[in-house]
Point group: C2
Chain length 238, copies 2
Amino acid sequence: MTTNDAPAAAPAKAPAKDPWELPDVSGLVVGVLGGTGDQGRGLAYRLARAGQKVIIGSRAADRAQTAADELGLGIEGADNAECARRSDIVIVAVPWEGHAKTLEALREDLAGKLVVDCVNPLGFDKKGAYALKVEEGSAAEQAAALLPESRVTAAFHHLSAVLLQDESVEEIDTDVMVLGEVRADTDIVQALAGRIPGMRGVFAGRLRNAHQVEALVANLISVNRRYKAHAGLRVTDI
Amino acid sequence: MTTNDAPAAAPAKAPAKDPWELPDVSGLVVGVLGGTGDQGRGLAYRLARAGQKVIIGSRAADRAQTAADELGLGIEGADNAECARRSDIVIVAVPWEGHAKTLEALREDLAGKLVVDCVNPLGFDKKGAYALKVEEGSAAEQAAALLPESRVTAAFHHLSAVLLQDESVEEIDTDVMVLGEVRADTDIVQALAGRIPGMRGVFAGRLRNAHQVEALVANLISVNRRYKAHAGLRVTDI
């Protein structure tokens, strides 16, 4: 039986950095591709409300502008390419169906950017939601394959778009699992998540372990149906 | 972007049962196959400490007996077949490598039993843990395929064997995601999880969504390494 306990410590080396010591990201511009959808709009709203500069991206600039105007808080709208170019961190919140095509088209605009994929490849039938097989392993790994010059991470999968968009909700009671290959990048995404009241960014592994984090949304949908809830996740003992 | 919010309500029908109304399972005998391993031993200890009658199963009856004697609390030891036959609920906590073979050999002994698979098919290399591909989709679905006459569920994946076995730990601060096809069965497993102080059994979907729950242990291992913790999971808003 494999348990989740950490293996024996590695050989002695420099003291580990405090995992909760995260950079100041308050000055970074955050773009949200697919920012006119429920999840993207909700994230844009929460980040702007926390004081972050946010640009909503959409295929059509006017639709992005309309969404930005509706949300206020200094949010701007632009087409996806301009959104990518003007942002330091780019959250990918497009529908799974358009994921590969959208990212391929933005490869140059996203070069050098910190990309945060939050897409959950799911199918639905009469029995509810289920995880789709993704050739690259996960949406995040597909992003990494399509964007070799970007710094790809994965996060923000387990959020309720209803809660994100509900202005009367002051705090979002959930941790955000952050995955990636480079600590400097995952630290930034953790810090970004931590800007939203109630949220905490938690490092949760490399991109090769993104599939199960994405797919777990199918389970949260089952939880929400059974308990009539907007479930999130907290990691205990940290 | 697919979010985790529940779809619109189904057409009007009989009022839904209270999801927290669970059966009394205190009189059921719980067997633990692979009960001499860390996870099995930890679960056996916690359940017996909560007042449940527990039988530890192992390939060798004498090894099971030794483990039972060490734990006390009225726990008995037996070979796997006897453990299965004498139990109402049988937790499968064997190593993934022996999973299929063990269950195949116990098909008749497990007929009619409520089987709870808690096996996590993981591989390890220099970069840490990763999810193994399972032909049937997950360990739980493999169990269901091999045990057509049993009532197969999945649960208890995300527990720290260290915490389970630490007698000084009074409460285990985690929810237990319970998966299965039949509500009467998942209700029983939820109730069983709820017997352990601090734990709560939460319905989290059908067996076809077991893979990601099993695989998520790889992420918890990353969490444990980064934060020097014994992480568990809580579902929020329920």
